[in-house]
Amino acid sequence: MSALTFTLKYQPKQRVDMSPLVCQLLQGKTTQQIAALELQSGKLKLRVDQVFDISGDDTQAIVIKNSFAKLDFIGKELDGGSITVEGDAGAYLAMGMKTGEIKVTGSVGLYAACEMKKGYLEIGGNVGDFLGAALPGNKMGMKGGTILVKGNAGERVGDHLRRGTILIEGNAGDYCGSRMTAGTIAVMGQTGRYLGYAMRRGTLLLWNQPQLSASFNDCGSHTLGFLPLLFNSFKKFNSKFADASVAFNRVQRYAGDMSEMGKAEVLVKIK
């Protein structure tokens, strides 16, 4: 069996809701049936074969080729299997993903991996605001799994994060880790203003000194035994995070946000 491949024929003017094209919904369907599915695009409903050339038959390994930034909801609530996106992806990538694996070679829009439950998401390029966040009004963001971003991330990374790990090789925007309940965010590059705003628990692991609000307290420098274990767990990734040379165990520890519970920590590598 070869991967079920959707090759974009043209770029629709309106955004396209890709949520019907996930492994668990396509399982057991023939190519004809899949071709006849309808995708909402603006106020139009487009047949899948109007938008994509379809080849291959393994519904548990989906490839989307020529993808671009208006393809929203790719891998929504994915429940096993894998999706590979060649190109960019739109908003709500991997929203509510339950398990499985999604890889995107290009850049991704808003709310990627929002309220993700489990699984693995890898983004080759940059990602927009609210990575791993909660939908507006909801109280819990990503609840588990791992996200790896090779480029930069937008604002509000991990807003309301509940559990899971977000690894960012590049920079993160303002409000990184805002309103986090728990979980881990690691940023190798620079971070923006209001880091950890209203953060309750959880860990921000940083390679560079951030601009911290007055509501974070400096708790001194520490050698933390758990850090080598944490870095060990990154070894399996195709990432800078797997490189032994980036690991460290000496950190400056800051506790906050004191305007909230204050049980969260920001760990900054001591150079």
Binding site: L135, P136, G137, N138, K139
Partner: protein, 554 residues
């Protein structure tokens, strides 16, 4: 155009018709007598085997005003989970606990409702409330203006102004805010909250003004009576939700001294402190007091299980309740120094002892109050449950075996604390028609509504009789609003706009002198802008104003 509804079984308590087979004629939006001589029927509906009632009226439902929008903003998930798409005749919308305006109108109509009254129109927000209700299709609407925690009234009381001055202020406010009734919420308590009081009993003084809730209730109930406003003072009493508040409620009933008074969502005010959990039902005592005091009317504010949101002007009690918020987010705020507002999402659970007992207390109240003309079917939408649960509630009232079936599934300790299982009463269709139609129209003082005799506006709902009352009331066969067919088989087939019901009691124009100074000094808008003109409601071509008569005035 002459429409004939033929052979339906008519329940029209307003004229004493109880299930007789009657024909109804409709001409120019109103019900008419059978024309004499030769006449041509343009459209006939065969209603043999169908149940015919006038359109239902919800006399207490939060469908307009700022707190609804706060609830919507607070709960986007409520909207995401319940999208409603547009059709050729209806507009899109969303929302389960706090639906959008258009969806509110459609869903009410699809249950056979033709009017809804917003019970908490804050004078300073009245314009927004009317604009919002102006966007609710099909339904007639109206509002009760909220007084009692406004500084101007409290200042008047502190200054010992006479009743005449207070009557003028109340009448002026009703005119300015286009109201049909007056409501008081936690009398003086919303104000006392701002002076750091966290509870206020009936005879406890406001720390700043030295005024007690009892004083406020007396002057307002007197004002409403003396002005001739038909809807009695609409009271959301002190100590909402506090175990033991049944005593406060009984004291309130006694203390009003025979003046007409409507106690709203009384379920939340009927709690005792007996039992291991120090929470028990006071429904029997309340029902006895209501049965014995003919000046008292009540609506229940029934709790039904599921997710909803509580939206109240009672910032004092909502501040206390915030710790039970589910999901855990809430808003309590002051509104323009005039009153307050609290929005707390709630999930009533049948396996939670308190929630389960609240459910039972509401039903006990329904079943123990004898006179259906003085008790009204509400869930205090959305506070006890969204209005869409009314058909389920009607089934609970009309079907004892169903009621006991549900009772046997709730929290076991709550089952032990209620007498519900032993109550055999089942509501009749006529009693339901009184509670939801004729009685409500009479209570609000609506002329030519709530009845099916000639002269009434043709607001008519037709149901198929079904022993499953929920199914029956969920889906009317037909619903006519002002003689136009708007619902067929529980679906909106045509939309129109309802009217806004108001009263216009007289006042001495010199009342504005003192008010103008007060507005200029303290409030965010000028007196001239505060008053809502008729044009603001009618100029879009779809709204209209219907003025209803006062007592003692023809």
């Amino acid at each position: 155009m002459l429409i004939k509804l033929t052979g339906g079984q008519v329940y029209d308590p307003a004229s004493g018709v109880d299930g007789q087979i009657q024909d109804i004629y409709i001409q120019d939006g109103r019900i008419v007598d059978m024309p004499v001589g030769d006449f041509k029927i343009d459209k006939e509906y065969d209603l043999h085997g169908k149940v015919v009632m006038s359109g239902a009226i919800d006399m207490h439902t939060h469908i307009g005003g700022g707190k609804g929008n706060i609830a919507r903003t607070l709960l986007p998930e409520d909207h995401r989970q319940d999208p409603v798409s547009r059709s050729d005749i209806t507009r899109s919308g969303c929302g389960h606990a706090m639906p959008s305006t258009f969806v509110t109108g459609y869903r009410y109509a699809e249950m056979g409702y033709t009017a809804g009254f917003e019970p908490a129109v804050l004078p300073i927000n009245a314009r927004q409330a009317h604009m919002e209700m102006g966007d609710i299709p099909i339904l007639d609407k109206g509002g009760y203006v909220m007084l009692g925690s406004d500084d101007y009234l409290l200042r008047m009381l502190t200054a010992k102004k006479d009743q005449k001055a207070i009557n003028d202020y109340v009448a002026w406010t009703m005119n300015a805010a286009k109201a049909i009734g007056v409501k008081v919420v936690n009398p003086g308590g919303i104000n006392a909250f701002k002076f750091n009081q966290r509870k206020l009993d009936l005879d406890e003084q406001n720390a700043h003004y030295g005024v007690t809730p009892r004083d406020i209730l007396e002057v307002l109930a007197t004002a409403v009576k003396e002005l001739g406003v038909k809807h009695p003072l609409h009271v959301h009493g002190c100590n909402l939700g506090v175990p033991g508040n049944v005593q406060t409620t009984l004291d309130t009933i006694q203390g009003i001294g025979g003046l007409p008074m409507h106690l709203t969502h009384i379920q939340f005010h009927s709690y005792g402190t007996e039992g291991d959990m120090k929470f028990s039902s006071g429904a029997a005592q309340i029902a006895e007091a209501v049965n014995n005091n003919k000046n008292i009317t009540i609506d229940v504010g029934q709790v039904l299980f599921g997710q909803t949101v509580t939206a109240s002007g009672d910032s004092m009690r909502q501040h206390y309740n915030h710790k039970f918020a589910s999901p855990n987010k809430w808003v309590v705020m002051d509104i323009e120094c005039d009153a307050g507002c609290g929005v707390v999402p709630f999930k009533y659970k049948d396996q939670n002892f308190v929630n389960a007992l609240q459910w039972a207390i509401g039903l006990e109240t329904f079943l123990l109050v004898n006179d259906p003309w003085r008790i009204f079917l509400t869930t205090d939408h959305p506070n006890g449950a969204p209005f869409t649960s009314y058909p389920h509630l009607i089934r609970l009232l009309m079907d004892r075996s169903f009621r006991n079936e549900v009772l046997s599934t709730i929290h076991p300790e709550a089952q032990k604390m209620t007498t519900l299982a032993s109550i055999t009463r089942e509501y009749t269709l006529q009693e339901i028609a009184i509670m939801t139609r004729a009685g409500a129209a009479k209570l609000i003082g609506l002329k030519d509504r709530g009845g099916l005799s000639a002269g009434n506006w043709a607001d008519i709902t037709v149901y198929t009789d079904n022993t499953n009352r929920q199914t029956m009331f969920e889906k009317p066969d037909y619903m006519f609003k002002d003689g136009e067919l708007v619902v067929v088989d529980g679906k909106v087939v045509h939309t129109k706009w309802g009217t806004t019901h108001v009263v216009q009691p007289d006042f001495d124009p010199s009342v504005e002198t003192g008010l103008k100074d007060y507005f200029d000094r303290y409030l965010t808008m000028k007196l001239g802008n505060f008053k809502i003109s008729d044009d603001e409601i009618t100029e879009d071509g779809r709204g209209s104003i219907t003025v209803h008569p006062l007592n003692g005035v023809a």
